[in-house]
């Protein structure tokens, strides 16, 4: 009896169709999800790049504006930054952030390069603002700019983490 039924079962399995279309077209939903992910991914970079460039330009203008009117305008930025008690901390912090991106697994080379470029723009802007704060420690605009830069840096590193997680979850 079992053999007869095994044969019946085998034949039934062989007759199963290879293709079964879904009850309705799934493509619109798939296309929408792909589109959403593309939109979500692209502004991350656009935002990071635009924000860091914006802050860099703003910080640069502000710094040079302040430096031009300051009595010791001839003092190079590097001297002022090095003289800051926090300079070593900020340099190590920047190196750590860069290193975390450079050694992050599962990042495509082009993606890594974009992240590093953005990170360096942000870090360059931070250095300029820190130098300006050396001369004008209580300037609220400088402090706001520095705060914005920290936030941009955090968002960029979080985005890096998100991209890594997404790529790790793929096959």
């Amino acid at each position: 009896m079992n053999n007869v039924n095994d044969d019946k079962l085998q034949k039934a399995v062989q007759r199963l169709p290879q293709d079964i279309d879904p009850g309705h077209d799934l493509w619109p939903a798939i296309a929408a999800r792909i589109g959403r992910k593309q939109r979500a991914a692209r502004p991350l970079w656009a935002y990071a790049l635009a924000a860091s460039l914006c802050v860099a330009v703003g910080a640069g203008s502000l710094y040079y504006g302040l430096a031009r009117h300051a009595p010791d305008a001839a003092v190079p930025v590097e001297v002022a930054t090095t003289a800051s008690p926090g300079a070593v901390y900020y340099a190590q912090r920047a190196a750590f952030a860069e290193n975390s991106v450079e050694t992050a697994p599962n990042l495509a080379p082009a993606t890594r390069a974009v992240i590093l470029t953005n990170l360096r723009i942000i870090e360059g802007s931070m250095q300029q603002i820190l130098a300006a704060l050396e001369k004008d420690p209580n300037n609220p605009r400088l402090r706001t700019l520095l705060y914005d830069l920290y936030q941009n840096e955090a968002r960029l590193l979080a985005a890096t983490q998100q991209i890594q997680t997404t790529q790790r979850n793929d096959l």
Binding site: N2, N5, D6, K8, L9, A12, V13, R15, L16, P17, Q18, D19, I20, D21, P22, G23, D25, L26, W27, A29, I30, A31, R33, I34, G35, K37, A108, T166, D170, L171
Partner: protein, 190 residues
Amino acid sequence: MESVLAMQSPTRIPLDTIDETDIAARARDGDIAAFEQLYRRHVGRVHAVCLRLAGNRTLAEECTQDAFVRAWESLAKFRGESSFGTWVHRIAVNTVLERHRTQLRQAAWVTTKSDEILEAVPAEESDPGHGIDLEQCIAGLPAAARMVFVLFDVEGRSHEEIAEMTGLAVGTSKAHLHRARRILRARLET
């Protein structure tokens, strides 16, 4: 039981008409229209395996969607060593298995208490004159037995491969297959 009957789509594109490697390359470059062509070619096969593994049309459609979205996101990793169809089929199987991970963990032990009930339930005559609908019988199997049966008897995987994919032991996989066949045989007798 939820119907698992096939519905034919008029948009199917014959598999041999266009060079698939070229379409996959265009999709990899971000061409969504090219990816849609790949979807149209393979959705039937992908949905079939999702439906049989999931045993539920709603979940199968979700898994089919997930599989294609994951394929799109992973296209950079598709080297063309296997066909796109094989590759996306593997993604689909993994997608369904991930959804059933908890059930598979619980199925580490084969329980047969409810099998007598399952064997006794008559299958619905979905296609009068052509016997019972095996698709519906498969859908009615316990989750782990269904997955092992589909992977082994329908998809042609070995028990070792199934063990690797599902996390079940090889012996457990064999036991689930035996159980699934026994239930299906009983249903075919009715």
